[in-house]
């Protein structure tokens, strides 16, 4: 029998279908009046935790408690409710109105881990807003835990897990003892829809709020964003008269030859 506790980190981000725009000051992506939703990789993480819980229950080999956590402003609670509606048991909101960079989030998560003592922390491999791909790795470093990143398949063993990772050359299979950090890749699973009754029930599930400053970690931003700009507009193609013309343009205009 194994009784697991799984912590899943989720982030509220600009919805994947929204066409993003740079704000007037050129300092950030416009987030006011823009649809937000759970980072899709975190949805995959939440789904994975729920699947592990369901598999244990079905095989009658153990139980799992799924705790979702989100660090950020008050609206992060919407994301937590979504995860609760999908099937997480309870939620923790680490509230902070200041910008949280990956290292700050990793430190906050470390504090939550020390309090909750999970057997596994699942994170999305990256958030689709800043594409940092750092938090999971930093958390593993801070905790001195093993990490299995970019997972496309997870199998639980006895106090261990076997993880298939998508790497440049193909797939790599590794085995780590628990507790460990897992970060999700796109093909790990297809997240479920939360059913209507579960959306309603999610409102009654426990959601604990912790003020970030009470955790006693330094969350000051270490990086400063100097400028955000839209990609240059694509230029239309040109027809060239001859091969010589083409070679000339490649040499003198594009300077690739």
């Amino acid at each position: 029998m194994s009784n697991l506790r799984i912590l899943v980190a989720t982030k509220r981000v600009v919805d994947y279908a929204v066409k993003i725009r740079v704000n007037a000051a050129g300092s950030a992506v416009e987030t006011a009046n823009v649809k937000h939703s759970m980072n899709p990789f975190d949805e995959i993480g939440t789904e994975q935790a729920i699947q592990i819980k369901e598999a244990l229950a079905k095989a009658k080999t153990g139980t799992a408690e799924v705790i979702v956590v989100s660090c950020g402003p008050a609206k992060s609670q919407e994301t937590l409710r979504t995860a609760l509606a999908m099937g997480a048991d309870r939620a923790i909101h680490v509230e902070s109105d200041v910008e949280l960079q990956p290292l700050a989030v990793a430190k906050l998560l470390k504090a939550v881990v020390e309090k909750e003592k999970p057997d596994m922390v699942i994170l999305g491999k990256q958030a689709i807003d800043d594409d940092s791909n750092q938090t999971g790795q930093m958390l593993a470093g801070l905790l001195s835990w093993p990490q299995a990143t970019f997972a496309s398949k997870v199998e639980l063993g006895d106090k261990s897990m076997t993880v298939t990772r998508e790497v440049d050359g193909g797939v790599e299979t590794i085995k780590t003892p628990l507790p460990a950090i897992l970060t999700t890749d796109l093909r790990l699973n297809v997240p479920r829809y939360a059913s209507l009754p579960n959306i309603m029930k999610a409102k009654k599930k426990p959601l604990e709020k912790i003020v970030a400053s009470s955790l006693g970690v330094d969350i000051k931003p270490r990086l400063e964003t100097l400028k955000i700009a839209e990609p240059a507009k694509r230029q239309g193609g040109k027809l060239v008269e001859s091969v010589d013309d083409l070679v000339d343009k490649l040499k003198n205009e594009a300077k690739v030859l």
């Binding site: 994947y16 279908a17 929204v18 009046n33 649809k35 509606a85 829809y193 009754p197």
Partner: protein
């Protein structure tokens, strides 16, 4: 943001275009009128389901006249099979306003399929509200899961707008009622397992009508040929024929003579539901038009630059909003059991189904020749929403209901 496109591609192939040109984020603010955060959550679930499960298949279902039972059951797992049915029998226990918001969102993906779901929901609600405990427990769990489908049978070949004059008879013989007659234009006819049939047990007029639960397979029940229709092609329509059809007395819903009242109460909600399906058709048509006018170039510029286009779009959005407000107000009134709910439902249905059809037509016009091609989606929204002006009471009957309320004051 590289991963954005990957996600759009994986989760909703049809939205790939939108992820790039993104109609969604701006126009969906239109639908943010008077609904709260919880209702928005339901809306976003229904829209995601419509985008992923309906929209990519809509044209195929229309073309092949395919009834997507598997997708309906998948939706029922999320609660769409009994939105305003009580929870003890598997319903979602929501109100009419939430239901309207959900049907609008679903029908952006497929009007015809959503309209069938709405009829199924109306039948489930009728059994839930007017059926006895045995009937609820026997029929509703299978209906809310959509393991079984339901059909509403009021209209007859000779009794459409004059539904109170229907001629199907039900004569009590021992432990059975024997039903004779036929019902026309029955959505789900032949596919459904459960038919709510209005038949005459008493004298002429509305007070002589009773409501029965008739199962497919009851002796004497048969179906006409599958009708060939302008739209609503993802659901079959057939005549339902009763020849000495034996229905056990325990399948009478409510009391003898209560049938017409039950049928009308069901229809009040049905009118909001159908109006909501028109809203979805109009919303999707407007989104399609916005996408098209920014891409389509004439006279060396996108046609969105022309004032005619701009004014047309503004008119479409305005009439969509007014329709939505009326539908949602009427839904609220049904939730509150307001004494004027019936006439408000009628006015909302009249306004929304007429105006939204016009929005689909305007969108088709903005598409120019492309709008007339079946490769584009807008023709489906137009054809599917055309019938909303005819059924659940024609829009002429809506005027009768509304004016009757006015003149009786």
């Amino acid at each position: 943001m590289a991963s954005l496109l990957t996600f759009a591609a994986r989760r909703a192939p049809v939205r790939l275009g939108r992820a790039v040109s993104s109609i969604s984020s701006q126009t969906r603010h239109l639908s943010s009128s008077p609904i709260d955060h919880d209702q928005k959550e339901l809306q976003s679930l229904a829209r995601a389901f419509a985008d992923n499960e309906f929209a990519p298949k809509m044209q195929e279902w229309d073309e092949n006249q395919h009834f997507p039972a598997d997708v309906l059951r998948k939706g029922a797992e999320l609660g769409f099979g009994g939105l305003y049915t009580r929870e003890d029998v598997g319903g979602a226990g929501l109100g009419r306003l939430e239901t309207s918001v959900i049907f609008e969102a679903l029908s952006t993906g497929c009007v015809s399929t959503t309209a069938y779901i709405s009829i199924h929901n109306m039948c489930a609600w009728m059994i839930d509200t007017y059926g006895n405990e045995e009937q609820r427990q026997k029929y509703l769990p299978n209906l809310t899961s959509m393991e079984h489908f339901a059909s509403y049978c009021l209209t007859e070949p000779g009794a459409g707008s004059d539904a109170g004059g229907l001629s199907t008879t039900a004569v009590k013989k021992g432990s059975h009622y024997v039903l004779n007659g036929s019902k026309a234009f029955i959505s789900g006819g032949g596919e459904s397992n459960v038919y709510l049939i209005m038949a005459r047990t008493g004298g002429s007029g509305a007070k002589g009508i009773s409501c029965f639960i008739v199962e497919k397979g009851f002796k004497g029940l048969s179906f006409g040929k599958k009708e060939n229709k302008l739209g609503w092609n993802s659901q079959p329509t057939r005549a339902v024929i009763m020849e000495d059809c034996e229905v056990p007395v325990e399948n009478l819903v409510g009391a003898e003579g209560q049938g017409f009242s039950i049928a009308m109460k069901g229809l009040n909600g049905g009118r909001i539901n159908i109006g909501s399906c028109s809203l979805g058709a109009a919303q999707a048509s407007l989104e399609a038009a916005l996408e098209h006018v920014k891409v389509r170039k004439q006279f060396n510029q996108p046609i969105a630059n022309f004032q005619n286009t701009q004014f047309k779009l503004a008119d479409m959005a305005t009439s969509l909003l007014s329709s939505r407000l009326m539908i949602r107000q009427a839904a609220n009134m049904l939730d509150q059991d307001h004494p004027s709910a019936a006439s408000f439902c009628a006015m909302a249905k009249l306004h929304a189904t007429d105006e939204c059809f016009k929005i689909c037509d305007d969108s088709l016009q903005l598409h120019g020749g492309y709008g007339y091609l079946k490769d584009y989606k807008v023709n489906v929204y137009l054809r599917d929403s055309r019938v909303h002006r005819i059924l659940e009471g024609t829009n002429e009957v809506m005027r009768m209901v509304a004016s009757r309320a006015l003149l009786s004051e």
